[in-house]
């Protein structure tokens, strides 16, 4: 039973495919994170805003997304939307589904940050003469995102890992490449061990990049190491 002998020789010919897959995952996850962050930010602003109708609408969106499987969301975008005449490439569908998904989770994280800003902060800013937009930007949004940035980073790394699910609609990414290699070499164990190692490396890479972005964006983090 334990007589399995590992054979990684297929790597000699397939490593470019692994690298291509890793790069595609970086692009897929990177663009989903960038767009997803903006969606999350806008949703958090609306959700914590005064407009009850808009806030309720975003709330419904968040709850629906958080209470249904990502795979089903991906299938709806990829297989469902064409019925409405919207034919999407697998990659576009993957990005859309991942953005919708991370937008919902991210907005809840940012909303928590927004709601953690003390009322006194807003009054102090108003008393200094800042207008509503300036107060929102300088005193609410920037500190809110700064405060929840670690949680947001984790969410984004999770999104990168979740992007492997888009292999189910044959989006071009690491897991899909691995599936292909595995079907040609029949070395499933080795292929997925390698894929796991690459995902691990990608996680580290994403964390480092997100950390660096935080260092640049938030002076206090840089200065105080908080």
């Amino acid at each position: 039973m334990l007589s399995y002998s590992f054979d990684f020789s297929f790597l000699m010919t397939t490593w470019p495919a692994f690298m291509r897959g890793a790069w595609q995952t970086i692009l897929l996850a990177g663009s989903s994170i960038a767009i997803g962050f903006i969606v999350a930010l806008v949703c958090a602003i609306i959700r914590s805003g005064k407009n009850k109708f808009a806030s309720g609408l975003v709330g419904a969106y968040v709850e629906v997304i958080r209470n249904t499987p990502l795979l089903v969301q991906i299938f709806i975008v990829y297989f469902g939307l064409p019925s409405l005449g919207l034919k999407l490439s697998a990659e576009t569908a993957a990005v859309i589904a991942l953005v919708i998904n991370t937008g919902a989770y991210g907005s809840e994280i940012i909303r928590a940050g927004i709601e953690s800003i003390a009322k006194g902060q807003l009054e102090a800013a108003e008393c200094l003469g800042l207008n509503k937009f300036q107060v929102y930007w300088h005193i609410i949004l920037i500190p809110a995102v700064e405060r929840v940035y670690p949680a947001l980073s984790s969410q984004f790394v999770l999104l990168m890992l979740s992007s492997s699910i888009t292999s189910q609609i044959s989006a071009q990414e690491l897991t899909a490449e691995a599936n292909l290699i595995q079907s040609e070499t029949f070395r499933s164990f080795e292929v997925y061990l390698i894929v796991a190692a690459i995902y691990l490396a990608l996680s580290v890479l994403f964390r480092v990049v997100l950390w660096a972005i935080g260092e640049v964006a938030f002076v206090r983090r840089r200065k105080l190491r908080t």
């Binding site: 003390a118 902060q121 008393c127 200094l128 800042l130 207008n131 500190p143 206090r220 105080l224």
Partner: protein, 262 residues
């Protein structure tokens, strides 16, 4: 009630006779739901004077201060600052008020994500549209005034309470307001830190800044204020120079207040 005659034995900022008061509160009432907090408060504050508002918790003193600065909508009467009526619904009037009045809070309300310097320059650049260099120069000047010239690059969490409150004062001061409002600014401080904040306020008073403070520091009010206003049950109960207020209280309520807390 007119409270504009400055007097006393110590040198005080004399009100200019016949000059228009810088703040006129006329018969102001304010309620929070069914709870009436201010009952027809009238008060005139002269340019260059320090007015200390004292009274028990719940007497309406902080609410009055917040009404003057358009942080609370009043339900009756009128308030004028620098000759302009204060109205929360009139954005232009609020904007002008913000340029004329600075306010310092009990809880400092420094912006935690900004350095001391950026706390001060934010409004200078965002509101007054000054250049970074001009704003920095002003910030360093006001930090010098409150004795914190070396803290420009610190973050609020690295300051003691007394230092934080002095930064908050400097932040208001940087905008060159005509009036500074202080809402129990030493109430959150240890006694040894209270002194450094009061010292800054005393310096400002000596330089002729118009100041209105809600305070529990009776000794400070007695020594430095030009006028002491005693509020009770949402009304100005008694007001006058500290010498009169402290030495010769006219009402039993003030007498009781003075004997209870000191």
């Amino acid at each position: 009630m007119s409270v504009n005659e400055a007097a006393g034995t110590r040198p005080r900022n004399e009100a200019v006779p016949g000059a228009e008061p810088i703040i006129v509160v006329d018969n102001v009432s304010k309620n929070f739901g069914p709870l009436q907090v201010l009952h027809g408060v009238s008060l005139e504050i002269q340019r260059g004077t320090m007015v200390a508002i004292v009274g028990r918790s719940g007497s309406g003193k902080s609410t009055l201060l917040r009404c003057i600065n358009a942080l609370e909508e009043i339900n009756g009467g009128s308030i004028k600052v620098c000759g302009h009526p204060v109205s929360m619904s009139d954005r232009a009037s609020v904007k002008r008020l913000r340029s004329e009045v600075g306010m310092v809070f009990q809880s400092y309300n420094l912006f935690p994500h900004l350095t001391v310097l950026r706390n001060i320059t934010l409004a200078l650049t965002a509101v007054q549209k000054k250049s970074r260099a001009d704003a920095d120069a002003i910030a360093h000047k006001v930090l010098g005034l409150v004795g914190l010239g070396d803290k420009a690059e610190a973050f609020p969490e690295q300051l003691s309470g007394g230092q934080a409150q002095r930064v908050a004062i400097a932040r208001s001061l940087a905008l060159s307001p005509k009036v500074l409002l202080f809402d129990e600014v030493t109430s959150a401080l240890d006694p040894e830190l209270t002194g450094e904040v009061l010292k800054v306020m005393e310096d400002l008073a000596r330089d002729g800044m118009t100041m209105v403070l809600v305070t529990h520091e009776m000794a400070f009010a007695r020594r430095v204020a030009d006028i002491v206003v005693f509020m009770h049950q949402g009304k100005v109960w008694e007001a006058g120079p500290p010498a009169e207020i402290f030495a010769d209280p006219k009402t039993p309520e003030l007498r009781q207040f003075l004997s209870s807390g000191l």
